[in-house]
């Protein structure tokens, strides 16, 4: 367990954390404001990646692809909102789960039909490829730093938007008590469409940014969706601040757990059982963390609902 490995893995954990935050931010707001469970949020992330690959194929330029894919995910998200989700806001959670689950099935298969089942890749922009020397002996890929940087920038923008603008104030109020906000004469449906569109775009952005280092394949949104749910539940549903902290915690715990669990277990176990048990514990770690958090704070770290 050397120091340089620890630093590299911490950065990787941060990178996973900001990625999770990009996805969880939209999810937690949609959840918080409209009490709407959107399982289909993960496929928006997948769609962002696929659209970026497609637009890159058409334009040959990463930044054009980024902008076009963002616009397309936004349009698609609003289309989904208009066609399906709008009819489900007043329903119970189960109807929402089943409908959005149906959308996952449809889009995962649709993507397979359009682009094939084999993984695709998106080349990263020339100027950000390669690695830089962080410290003597530690090389780190530039693109991952770009992801961390852009994620933190988005977090800052979101913080300013949510805490220092009128729309942000309404969103916070909506997360606390949507009915009251509506009774005060705010068009909560329109507010929700804005939040939803924004959240969709963030998920798409996450997908586009991660596409150069992950393979773009059907179903890539499913695992990340579950992680994002863990994040927003730990953070407290509806809380951006909670989502940010929980995302970083989850990212770090998961990454560090995976890289060091075997080493740590070997301190007090024989090497061979440690190699078997280690990975199992590492993949359970975040769920264990979630169960613990919910046991002691059943409404997450930063509960929002004022009930």
């Amino acid at each position: 367990m050397s120091l340089s490995l620890l630093i590299v893995q911490t950065l990787n954990g941060l990178q996973l954390g900001v990625l999770l935050f990009l996805i969880a931010a939209g999810l937690t707001l949609v959840f918080g404001v409209m009490d709407f469970i959107n399982l289909a949020h993960g496929v928006q992330y997948m769609l962002g990646a696929y659209l970026a690959v497609m637009f890159y194929g058409l334009t040959g330029n990463f930044f054009f692809a980024l902008v076009l894919a963002l616009a397309a995910t936004l349009a698609f998200g609003l289309l989904l909102e208009f066609a399906v989700f709008r009819h489900l806001y007043d329903r119970n959670h189960l109807d929402q789960v089943i409908a959005t689950f149906g959308i996952i099935l449809f889009l995962n298969q649709g993507v397979k039909l359009l682009w094939g089942a084999s993984p695709l890749s998106l080349p990263m922009p020339e100027m950000f490829s390669g690695s830089i020397v962080l410290m003597p002996g530690i090389l780190y890929p530039v693109w991952r730093l770009v992801i961390i940087g852009s994620g933190l920038a988005v977090a800052l923008v979101l913080y300013l938007l949510v805490n220092h603008t009128r729309v942000g104030m309404l969103v916070r109020a909506g997360a606390t008590n949507a009915q009251m906000v509506s009774a005060l004469g705010v068009n909560i449906r329109r507010l929700f469409m804005i939040v939803f569109g924004f959240g969709t775009m963030l998920a798409g952005f996450a997908g586009i940014m991660i596409a150069p280092i992950l393979s773009v394949e059907p179903g890539m949104g499913d695992t990340i969706l579950i992680l994002a749910f863990v994040v927003i539940v730990i953070g407290g549903i509806g809380s951006i601040r909670g989502a940010f902290l929980a995302a970083l915690i989850i990212g770090l715990v998961d990454t560090l757990g995976r890289s060091f669990s075997v080493d740590i277990l070997r301190l007090f176990m024989a090497p061979s059982p440690a190699r078997t048990v280690g990975p199992a514990i590492a993949s359970m770690l975040i769920y264990l963390l979630m169960a613990l958090v919910l046991y002691f704070r059943p409404a997450g770290l930063f509960p929002v609902k004022g009930r």
């Binding site: 189960l94 789960v97 099935l105 409404a299």
Partner: protein, 331 residues
Amino acid sequence: MADATVTATTAPVVARGAFSGNLLPLLLFLLFAALPLLATLTAEAYVLSLVTRVMIFAIAALALDLLIGYGALISFGHAAFVGLGAYAVGILASHGIKDALISLPIALGVSALFALLTGIVCLRTKGVYFIMITLAFGQMVYFTASSLAPYGGDDGLTIHTRSTLGGLPIFGSERSLYYICFVCLLGVYLLCRALVASRFGRVYRGARENALRMSTIGFEVVRFQLVAYVIAGVIGGLAGFLLANATDFVSPAYMSWQRSGDFLIMVIFGGMGTLNGAILGAAAFLLTEEWLSGITEHWKLIFGPLLVLVAVFAPGGLIGLATKLRRMIRG
């Protein structure tokens, strides 16, 4: 006027008429019982294995209906219990223990223990948090199973010999396995009905409507919910035991969150809080899947939107749809 609205809203819960009374389950079970005889006329092995699968999933769906339909406890980790039951069979079989007299109690016991331990934690939370924490526990079991390298890990574990009962190979032939599943389904169905109608069931259902009021009258609501959660877990374990014998194989995929989603869909598709709906939903889900996947490899393109349509236009599921139709016909 007031009376009319009350009956209208409570109608799906109170058993009455052909679709929510006894005629539908009677027809269903008669059909299940007679099917092997009819199947001899066609592709017997195919029909038997398909309907065996339907019945096993119906058992698991019944248990889930007990939770979500009667207790409003939306569990997104139900597949974990099925997986535990299945893995108990698989792991014991790989050590040469294949008698159901040993493996069945262990399968049920493991599921019960897991339900008890996780139930204590899960029932502290409410609503969405409950959905997510059950999901978390389901994922934990899933990852544990996929890291069990001695038992196949991600690839799963093939079971070379099916369970026996006291040395008799009654799980061996497809037809006797079919009837074992049939008897189990019937037993579980009757048990659930009795449970829901009992004093225990009334308190449990009361907690769904208003937990605060129930606890004010003096019931410790969480205890009732915990018992129901454990019962549902044990039934799930039973389904897993049967599933392992029917497929001769266990794998972590049995407890993936998508599988838990499938169970939820079955219950909602059929109409939750009716028990009949769970059986109907399991049958409808698996048969639709089988039918569509026979038509095109991209069957999920049709199945996905179908789920959306059910959620948007038929919130009561098939049973709800049938009740609505009957009401329209009667005026």
